[in-house]
Symmetry: C2
Subunit: 499 residues, 2 copies
Amino acid sequence: MNEPAFLAYLKEIALIHESIGLLEWDSQTGMPEKGAAHRAEVSSYLSGKAFSMSTGPEMTDYLAYFAAHPEELSEFGQAVYDKVKEEYDLNKNVPADRYQAFRKVQSMAHSTWVKAREAKDYHLFKGSLEELINFTKEFIPLWRKEEATPYDVLLNQYEPGMTVAILDDVFSQVRDGIMDIRQVVAEKGTVPDTSFLHRHVTKEQQRQFVTQVVTELGYDFSRGRLDDTVHPFMLNLNRNDARITTRWDENDFGMATLGVIHEAGHGMYEQNVAAKYDYTPLAGGVSMGIHESQSLFNEIIVGGSKAFWQRQFPALQAITGETFADVEFETFYKGLKETKASFVRIESDSLTYPLHIIIRYEIEKMIFNDEVSIDDLPQIWNDKYEEYLGVRPGNDLEGILQDVHWAGASFGYFPSYALGYMYAAQLHHGMEKELDVEAILGSDDYSAIRKWSTKNIHQYGSSRKPNRLIMDATGEALNPQYLLDYMRKLYFDVYNISE
Amino acid sequence: MNEPAFLAYLKEIALIHESIGLLEWDSQTGMPEKGAAHRAEVSSYLSGKAFSMSTGPEMTDYLAYFAAHPEELSEFGQAVYDKVKEEYDLNKNVPADRYQAFRKVQSMAHSTWVKAREAKDYHLFKGSLEELINFTKEFIPLWRKEEATPYDVLLNQYEPGMTVAILDDVFSQVRDGIMDIRQVVAEKGTVPDTSFLHRHVTKEQQRQFVTQVVTELGYDFSRGRLDDTVHPFMLNLNRNDARITTRWDENDFGMATLGVIHEAGHGMYEQNVAAKYDYTPLAGGVSMGIHESQSLFNEIIVGGSKAFWQRQFPALQAITGETFADVEFETFYKGLKETKASFVRIESDSLTYPLHIIIRYEIEKMIFNDEVSIDDLPQIWNDKYEEYLGVRPGNDLEGILQDVHWAGASFGYFPSYALGYMYAAQLHHGMEKELDVEAILGSDDYSAIRKWSTKNIHQYGSSRKPNRLIMDATGEALNPQYLLDYMRKLYFDVYNISE
């Protein structure tokens, strides 16, 4: 046994994962509808192969050998080993038969979720949800290392180093801060005109415009592509093939425009990870939260910048002929940044979005602290929407059934979205110490921004933990105040409020 | 060891092949240009896996076991076993190191071929070609079973059961017959007006029209899709996912129209193989020749039918606005079916096409009978073009360097194309005993034709040999006269010649 053999073994696993990635991308972008059953066979066969290579005897032997002979690993080899060991340890205590039983319930839960959505009835999904929660509760002690509470174990899987103690603190600041901004806006703000947002813009016009925009931002189409899908995502096969997707609405150009700008942020992250991590588990973004920080930086910071739109709006006008010829720039910008409570998370604006996340966070914590009955969840859900957002869902489809995550047992995942918001604003603040961001966004060369992000975030792939990245890039730990400051400034401007 | 375990093992190999298929499709339809190097790693890793599973000790054990215990195989299991054994035997005598050396030369030959094409100079490619020929000559005795001549061994790999003796006979008839038709056409024919063929038809108009046409012919888009590519092909991942591709020229709508109709024929074959062959080597078309018979049936028989175009031309006119409003149907049909000698095979029409193939066949035979020096090939090539087609290539690019096949060492492959022509015409003749094909092609329901082909060809996948399929479907062995009769009738009509 030696390091090159270990790396070669990891490369095999990486190559299988890349192949699985393409199967997944294809099934979400254009696989013929009747190809699904055969596709499931291929994907599950290869996933099984990769899983057994990652957890089987050969991997066990490698890890045992290098645990006994750490001196045989280079610094690079050690970093790779640590990451592999971390993933291996996570699963090694879960008995294979229990894991398989869990996977089966998980795959059925997706169908019951879909059926419950059709009937707008939570009770059709409740049984599956309860089973998934019970499995997760069974696994938590097996996954647990030093985490303080059961829910900390789940958080840590998506955002290494994140804790309930930290989140309770920052989320309560964010919740209060946003509710305060919303109140001022409601009381003193001038609601922007948004009627132009629904003018007809063809798919081809939208594609031309947004392709141009994300190319300027630094998304490299020679190492990526843009396809149509139902639920937009970015999928990186490798750093030279990081693909983005979107869906288009010809009567709501803002959706795909900001959606593609968002996905391009994910893609730019992957495209700029250092080549030395190729074919190791250190290739690819480090966590959901950091990944979202990059996509949300694009969507919220860039897409919220007045200077940026001052240059891009004329480009949009040029592509769309007479469509927006009569729209003033101020009207355009303010309409684009309207804020309004919504039932559905993915339709919300950047001010209200974190509240949707905090609601899910609070409910998940209650579930894993055994403070709630599964029966009461819809009631709790609706009460929280009323309290935080001032709207009460009329049925379970626009309420508790709206997101797919729980059907996939992805408990602990939602907070990453809000972390991404806070990281993005904090990184923006860090960036401003070195760059005049607004001036750059008003110029015809955005490259300094992409380079700053590559230098501070992208290049490291998964070799540095989220808290280290944030600390090194901004000089302090997670601090939600930057997000609140940013939001206050932006929305007070949009709603003509002077402080 | 038992049959279910054997089939499960074969299924694993099939699943890997399906994944390789998607990687290949993707790399030819839209993979980001800089993704190529990573992609090569994934593809070659999985290909190596599939190859070693197909030839390694586990497969050797299965084959030895069932050779000793044939009574343990069902009839279905036996058929699968025979096919697996055939492929296994083909490779078992070739030493792994020689095969690897050959693969290396093969992959370099592609680059030298590309370079030689750029320089239009055969001499840059000659060295690679000679190496590939020498490897092939080295392997032929290892591959050989009962084949009569070395070239028979090569033929048999692409068209099981085909021999030089048969081809010499049928190709001389085809060559003489076509040259005779060409002479009459040249002497007495009225050359059709083809100017309208180059009117501008947008890609979207072409796509709409041809999608409609192939759907009517029976290509199922819920189990397939149509994408853009450089060198059009059909690729089936499985019978529920058989994808076709094309390239478009807005000033030559006939190219993509007939191209997609051709590829749809390949796709319809794969989509209609019986489900019981799924995940075995009997899934998928049996040979290149039979595959081409299905694509060429679509392209030549359907695409050459006057009744078919009498109904489809108005549909094309409706989609293209005023573009063809002034074109009479007779003008349209005759222009579409013009025949004219060309240097390049893939640009040729259906009458001259077989001559391009026969030229390659004659040269390949000379090579493997040691009757020619590699140095003399361009001279021989050009002489044959002058003799058979009346045109002499001005350089090696439009001459001997035009096709990729020799750079891939695919010697013995070309004849399949001409076999496809002859099979298509013979199947058409067989079909006419049961169906009034021209009446069906003039109607709005073509399904009887697709069903006849499924009943006689498609359903069997690779479970029956080409000669058996042709014999059962038409009542006789390969007979080139049907092609000649068909061509004579069609081209005499197009060129206004009465016999």
